[in-house]
């Protein structure tokens, strides 16, 4: 039973036909699972999984001042991007909180494409607009015309090559290629993902997504490709310790508290949030996001209190049973001194304190290819 007023992607009928359980998510009616969270999760770790992420937003920034706008609105450095290349970055408030975490791609000499979270799309568009005021740059929300799929897993590259009839092995991580034809539709293929596996994200015209989806599932059939819902998308990204906006990061947390210091490039010049973040770097953040494993048979969930010595020192921002690592784990902000691997902590789970230990992030790192894809 799904509430009124929810939007549907162009793949809705295919999801329902495949037996997906549909749930409301950020204003959209999305598949949370098809075969089951564990099965889908393992398919991505060992073969390949196909996700509908058309609910995500896409925003173009184009014009003579496009780079200047991008540089002020994100913390990472877009000046180094070649055409066809992208990066991951937070956008910060003046006080160093995170407005959203996005990927930004340089699509032409003076054109950039932001891929943003569904839950923050409207806010992000306004935020980017604010940064473009008085500049020679046009900001355009193209989310409604852009569908996005993700094909993730060790088999993804081979499946994509089969479906596209094109060799994409030369496509470096965090780069994209235009005019890749899949299922008769023209797509843009990004070498990116949100699972901790090698993988690709495929953008197409909104109404072309069903033929792209079908072609990829068809090509993947021999490789055990599964359709994957938001449930496994969350457990996959948690094992890889990728941030979920609204859970692990938001406007009250900074990139230096989260494990995102690598995305803040102070040397690139001014950007929104720089002063506060610079001070935070000098002083050292008071708290940090720590990963932990629960060593009892109990599963930490978002908002469970984190305790040390009988005192609450923080709360869980994300927690689950990890289907591939096969243990309960989570993340949460704790005083920096307690964020060191090996620190014993307790997680209060349904009123009872469960023993846990701080561990190094990520929980899971894939073996083969050394470059991290996000």
């Amino acid at each position: 039973m799904v509430a009124e007023g929810l939007r549907r992607t162009s793949l809705y009928d295919l999801h329902v036909g495949a037996g997906a359980r549909m749930v409301p998510f950020a204003g959209w009616e999305m598949p949370v699972q098809y075969a089951g969270v564990t099965e889908e999760h393992l398919a991505v770790r060992t073969g390949a999984g196909l996700f509908d992420v058309s609910h995500m937003g896409e925003v173009r920034v184009e014009g003579r001042d496009a780079l200047a706008v991008v540089q002020r609105v994100i913390t990472n450095d877009a000046a180094r991007l070649t055409i066809g290349q992208g990066l991951y970055s937070p956008m910060c408030t003046p006080s160093g909180g995170i407005v959203d975490d996005v990927t930004v791609f340089r699509t032409a000499d003076r054109a950039y494409l932001f891929v943003v979270n569904a839950s923050t799309r409207a806010k992000d568009v306004t935020w980017i607009h604010t940064h473009a005021e008085g500049c020679a740059a046009v900001v355009r929300d193209v989310s409604d015309e852009t569908a996005l799929l993700a094909l993730q897993g060790p088999r993804a590259a081979g499946i994509l090559a089969d479906a596209a009839g094109a060799d994409l092995s030369g496509l470096a991580p965090f780069h994209f290629r235009d005019r890749v034809v899949i299922g008769g539709a023209t797509t843009r293929v990004f070498h990116t993902g949100y699972t901790g596996e090698d993988g690709f994200e495929i953008a197409s015209a909104w109404d072309d997504a069903p033929s792209v989806w079908t072609a990829l599932l068809e090509a993947g059939r021999a490789h055990g490709t599964q359709a994957v819902g938001l449930g496994a998308r969350d457990t996959l990204r948690l094992e890889a310790a990728l941030m979920l906006y609204g859970n692990d990061i938001d406007e009250t947390t900074s990139p230096l508290e989260a494990p995102l210091a690598w995305t803040v490039k102070f040397e690139k010049g001014d950007f929104t949030g720089r002063d506060v973040l610079l001070r935070q770097r000098t002083d050292g953040p008071v708290r940090r996001l720590a990963g932990f494993e629960v060593t009892e048979r109990a599963i930490p969930r978002q908002h469970c209190p984190i305790e040390v010595g009988g005192h609450v020192v923080g709360e869980v921002t994300s927690g689950s049973f990890a289907p591939f690592l096969k243990r309960p784990l989570g993340m949460g902000y704790v005083p920096s001194a307690l964020s060191v691997a090996g620190t014993p902590i307790r997680i209060e789970i349904r009123g009872k304190p469960a023993a846990a230990s701080v561990v190094k992030l990520p929980f899971y790192r894939r073996k083969k290819i050394p470059t991290e894809v996000r």
Partner: protein, 128 residues
Amino acid sequence: MYPDDRRYTREHEWAKAEKGRLRVGITAFAAERLSDVVFIELPEVGAEIREAEPFGVVESVKAASDLFAPVSGKVVEVNRAIVDNPEMINEDPYGGAWMIVVEPADPTALERLLSAADYAKLVGAEGT
């Protein structure tokens, strides 16, 4: 579709009379909904449980769900096998995956629960 040798709660537990005691488990519908069960937490033998209140928890990958007591009474047996093998819940919900045996405080309590036909109707309405 639902065995008619037992009765059901609106919270998807079943209770089956056995020599004045009640064997309690969850229905196939609930087991399906709780896919990816990881841990099951059950009371100790001797624990008092109260009708419509939680007596245990099923933890799946994505969520924790309470188990609700179909009747009030005293727990006289607990199925340790499913605690060690939670996947049994999906394989044999009406047999091997029973959860507890209860000595009911009121021997007629079972009669107030749903019949298999009424439960099927309830699930039919929820399932759509």
